[in-house]
Amino acid sequence: MARKQELEAIRMDMTPMIDVVFQLIIFFMLVTDLSQQDLADVRLPYAGTAVKDEMQTGRLTFNVLKDGGIEIKRVSQGRMDDPATQEWVRRFLAHEVARGRREPDGTSERAILIRADRDTEFKHIQKILRVCSETGIRICKIHLGAAQTPSRPAADPP
């Protein structure tokens, strides 16, 4: 009898914990946008005519950092100055394009979103565009990422 009472005394009601945990999960799921996980932290330039960017299936996203480094799906791939990076981008795009369909004129149906820091030299982006235009890839739908609201003028870092 004493043993049974002892067992009952250490039983714990898990209901409040489960309630709280589920409520927290629901809250964070609502406020987190998983579709933006492949967007790197870059300071996009403002464009008044920028249209709302609806996430498109099959679109590729290239983040170009201020120093010209490329980031895809949160993984740094090096700079386009480096021939090895260029080769990697070439193979990556060729692989992705092969998975999609082609337009009647032979160009790829897939689009590419380029999100670059506002101070990135355009030559880095131009190198990506050059690879996009190569035979076997031929992606010509280019979306340039831009901010829809002007950012507050921030003091330049020292």
Partner: protein, 144 residues
């Protein structure tokens, strides 16, 4: 007997607090709030090789050259079809005139050395303001 009842209703809150705090720490560290972003739609030339057909020559073109000019407040200068533009407003107005004259107008951007992404986006923005959507970039023609 009464004392025993009291002991039975006592709840150990430690696991709940542990789990809750761990979840909060996890989400606070990984959360990325939705940002308001837009896009500008452009395209690369669809023609193949350097062969230009007579048909293409008939299409009016707006050749926009961008070059670094530190004397200007914007930090860069714009030349439209060989004519220097005083600013982006003038560029937009001139493109608007050309677009009215030729609805099939195509803009080609020639970003010079030192031109940044922001400069290019500003020029693309100026083109889109006058509903000039056919925007391409020079130097990236398709391989033959």
């Amino acid at each position: 007997m009464k004392r025993m009842q009291h002991e039975q209703t006592e709840l150990d809150m430690t696991p709940m607090i542990d789990v809750t705090f761990q979840l909060i720490i996890f989400f606070v560290c990984t959360i990325k709030y939705k940002t308001l972003e837009g896009k500008l739609e452009t395209q690369l030339p669809r023609d193949v090789g350097v062969n230009r057909t007579p048909m293409e020559a008939l299409i009016d073109k707006a050749e926009i050259h961008l070059d670094v000019d530190s004397t200007l407040p914007s930090g860069f200068g714009v030349t439209l079809n060989g004519r220097r533009m005083p600013g982006l407003e003038s560029l937009s107005a001139r493109l608007g005139d050309l677009k009215r004259q030729s609805p099939g107008l195509r803009a080609t951007l020639y970003p010079g050395r030192g031109i940044t992404y922001e400069h290019v986006v500003e020029v693309v923005d100026a083109c889109l303001r006058v509903e000039l959507y056919d925007i391409t970039f020079a130097g990236v023609a398709f391989d033959a």
